[in-house]
């Protein structure tokens, strides 16, 4: 924004049309407008003269007008509901305040604005402004985009607020055939995608993948570098993966491929479900009851350092068949992660919350239901995410050692049958399926903890 201390206009001189146009020209959002449009805007602008300390508007008033500051400085203090990145800011000459008037739902004022000096301010009716902007679609839209951009930079606004008012559209299909987009949610998303495409990120990402695949190709298939020539190259793997007649019997078009995926996913689902069903209540009680923790936690802690894979032979001894040991191992791994994190979640709750709840007359059960469980949720979902990862880890290992079908089994048998490209296909599939499952858990967590999502967005942490 502009530096508030430099007041270019001499205070006291009348705000005539020429000065207003000159001022608007320097005002960021109006830059794209032609002189003629600026003159029109100037004609609906009413100059207002204010004394130091005067209030321009305050929180929760109706927002009909937009203000452009001509001289002087104004303190712009957002109310607590505004969810702004910066609550108080000083604005000065050629800054625009009060653009809530341009928003789609015309929310009430979000801020209180006070003059810090004697000020000259232009008052522009929002509705009239929009009508003027609608005359000239191209530059009008640019102005609105400017507002949208400012909005996004300064607020983390709720969705219902974040839309700039739609310009009334003149139907104009034909001649140039260009249908300019509306400034709705969709176009804001498009705008964000466009911004992303303008940043270097996607290209660097592309570069990263190109380097990786290029190196892989050159080392294995291109130059046949020592040792690397034993690995299947990207071309070979890709051809095998997408071939209708795979050399080694596994590709996107063979039903066995999906059988393996299905077996692994089903095992993960069963184990994860079981582990959550057992681990969450166990963890909640561990954190909630001191007695329970002191009796059971030592056993838990004695068993935990034993790697899950060391359980394999014992699991085979304990459970008959090939399916149950695999499920047992996977469940065990997830159970530890879930229970431990849930317990940490309960311990992370500020002690004054349960106390305050009991003071207000909540029963033990109510405290448990309304304080302990929601309080533990964030950690619990971290635990569940870890648990899915760990579940895949031990599932693959268990499938490799024992069991039939499943991706781990596929990888192992492909090794024994010297069908090397299939190993890579199996690994890549594991990566994809594993990523999808953990993304699902994360999304479920975000859905259940909207308050936390908002908190993180406000805190600005990633």
């Amino acid at each position: 924004m502009t530096n508030p201390t430099t007041t270019v206009l001499a205070a006291g001189s009348e705000l005539n049309e020429e000065r207003i146009v000159a001022l608007l020209k320097r005002t960021a959002p109006f830059e794209p407008l032609s002189d003629q449009r600026l003159r029109e805007v100037a004609s609906i602008a009413t100059p207002v003269y204010l004394k130091k300390g005067d209030l321009i508007y305050t929180v929760d008033e109706r927002s009909d007008d937009v203000y452009v500051i001509a001289t002087g400085t104004v303190e712009h203090a957002l109310g607590p509901s505004a969810q702004a990145t910066q609550l108080v800011k000083i604005v000065g000459e050629a800054d625009v305040i009060g653009w809530a008037a341009l928003l789609k739902n015309k929310p009430a004022r979000l801020a209180k604005t006070t003059c810090l000096q004697d000020c000259e301010v232009l008052r522009i009716n929002g509705q009239h402004l929009i009508e003027i902007l609608a005359h000239d679609e191209a530059s009008g839209r640019e102005v609105m985009t400017c507002f949208a951009k400012m909005l996004m930079n300064e607020f983390t606004v709720p969705a219902w607020l974040s839309q700039v008012q739609e310009l009334p559209r003149k139907v104009k299909v034909g001649a140039d055939g260009l249908e300019t987009a509306n400034l709705t949610g969709v176009s804001l998303t498009m705008f964000r995608i466009a911004q992303w495409l303008k940043s270097p990120r996607p290209y660097l990402m592309l570069l990263g993948f190109t380097i990786f695949i290029g190196l892989w190709y050159l080392l294995s298939e291109g130059w046949h570098v020592w040792r690397f020539d034993r690995l299947p190259g990207p071309v070979e793997v890709w051809e095998e993966w997408t071939s209708r007649n795979p050399v080694y019997g596994i590709s996107l078009f063979t039903p066995e491929y999906y059988t393996h995926i299905w077996y692994s996913v089903r095992r993960i689902a069963e184990a994860f479900f079981l582990a959550t069903l057992l681990g969450v209540p166990f963890g909640l009680f561990l954190g909630w009851s001191r007695k329970f923790r002191e009796y059971t936690f030592p056993i838990f802690e004695t068993l935990r350092p034993i790697p899950i894979l060391a359980w394999v032979p014992l699991a085979i001894l304990m459970f008959s068949g090939t399916e149950t040991p695999v499920i047992f191992l996977t469940t065990l791994a997830s159970f530890f992660a879930t229970a431990l994190n849930t317990m940490l979640g309960v311990e992370s709750i500020d002690e004054s919350y349960p106390r305050a709840a009991s003071c207000l007359g909540a029963s033990k059960w109510q405290v448990f239901r309304h304080v302990v469980i929601p309080g533990a949720l964030p950690h619990m979902f971290t635990g569940l995410q870890i648990s899915v990862g760990v579940a895949w880890f031990s599932l693959v290992a268990a499938e490799m050692v024992s069991g039939q079908y499943g991706l781990g089994y596929l990888i192992m048998t492909s090794y024994t049958m010297v069908s090397y490209p299939t190993i890579i296909i199996g690994m890549a599939t594991l990566g994809i399926v594993g990523y999808i499952t953990s993304a699902m858990v994360r999304i479920a967590g975000d859905q259940m903890m909207q308050w936390r999502v908002r908190e993180l967005a406000l805190g600005g942490s990633q």
Binding site: E294, P305, P313, V396, M412
Partner: protein, 284 residues
Amino acid sequence: MNASTIVANRPMGRLRKSIFHDTGSRRAIVSLILFLVFWEVGSQSKAWFGVQLPWIGMVPAPTAVFSAWGPLLLDPSYWQSWWQSSYRVFFGFIAAMILGIPFGLLMAVSKNYRDTVFPVFEIFRPIPPLAWVPAAIIFWPTQEMSIAFVTFYGAFFTVVLNVIGGARSIDVRYFQSARSMGANGWDIFRRIILPGTLPSIVIGATVGMGITWEVVVAAEMISGGGNSMGGAGGGLGFFIWNSYVGGSYPQIVVGMISIGIAGYISSTIIRWIGSRATPWLRMR
């Protein structure tokens, strides 16, 4: 902890009082004894009552485990397994630290580098380390190297992610104030980024150590014993698998407990080194 520990000041008395008067430790002992008794009764259910309890009935009893452990303590091949697993863990872990820390720091320092490398890194992350075992065996000339690679791979991601997370959590104002006082890039790295990320490096190392043990056991089982790989890799994982194949079931549990102890000792060492490296955290 509580009053009884303060009252007792004679050395022996202090120990006795703290164990028997602190409800926490008393309950821990009670629960562990109950656990052992339950285990013993469950395992011996067939011999004692003629009815075999499900699941637990197949597990070797604690008495059998301890009597199998006795002679093993004098057996050099048992200690050989300890040694083999430990040095695999050690090398895999050290390799992960040596490569992972600079890799993560570079990503934390340079945005362009991070944008290039991180997506590729991210697609590798969901692939479990064990899925790499066959590919590693194909690629590396010796079995030892392939086990070391898989071990390294297991710890690498945790270390890198923790380094990035640690560097990102540093308050921006530190950089700003350092810069305004004339610090150059190296000073900022040496005085802010490095100490700022050290606590999370320690956390990453502790977690990574746990994963390393998990991976080593599995890799030893798969490549040393599990299938028709041929060749005896040795190590505690192999010891367990071999006991299973050879039918000496109590030794399986001995192996499991040994790995548990080994894992516990190594994370204690890491934590100790970590608290030495970050003395300012001990003050809190």
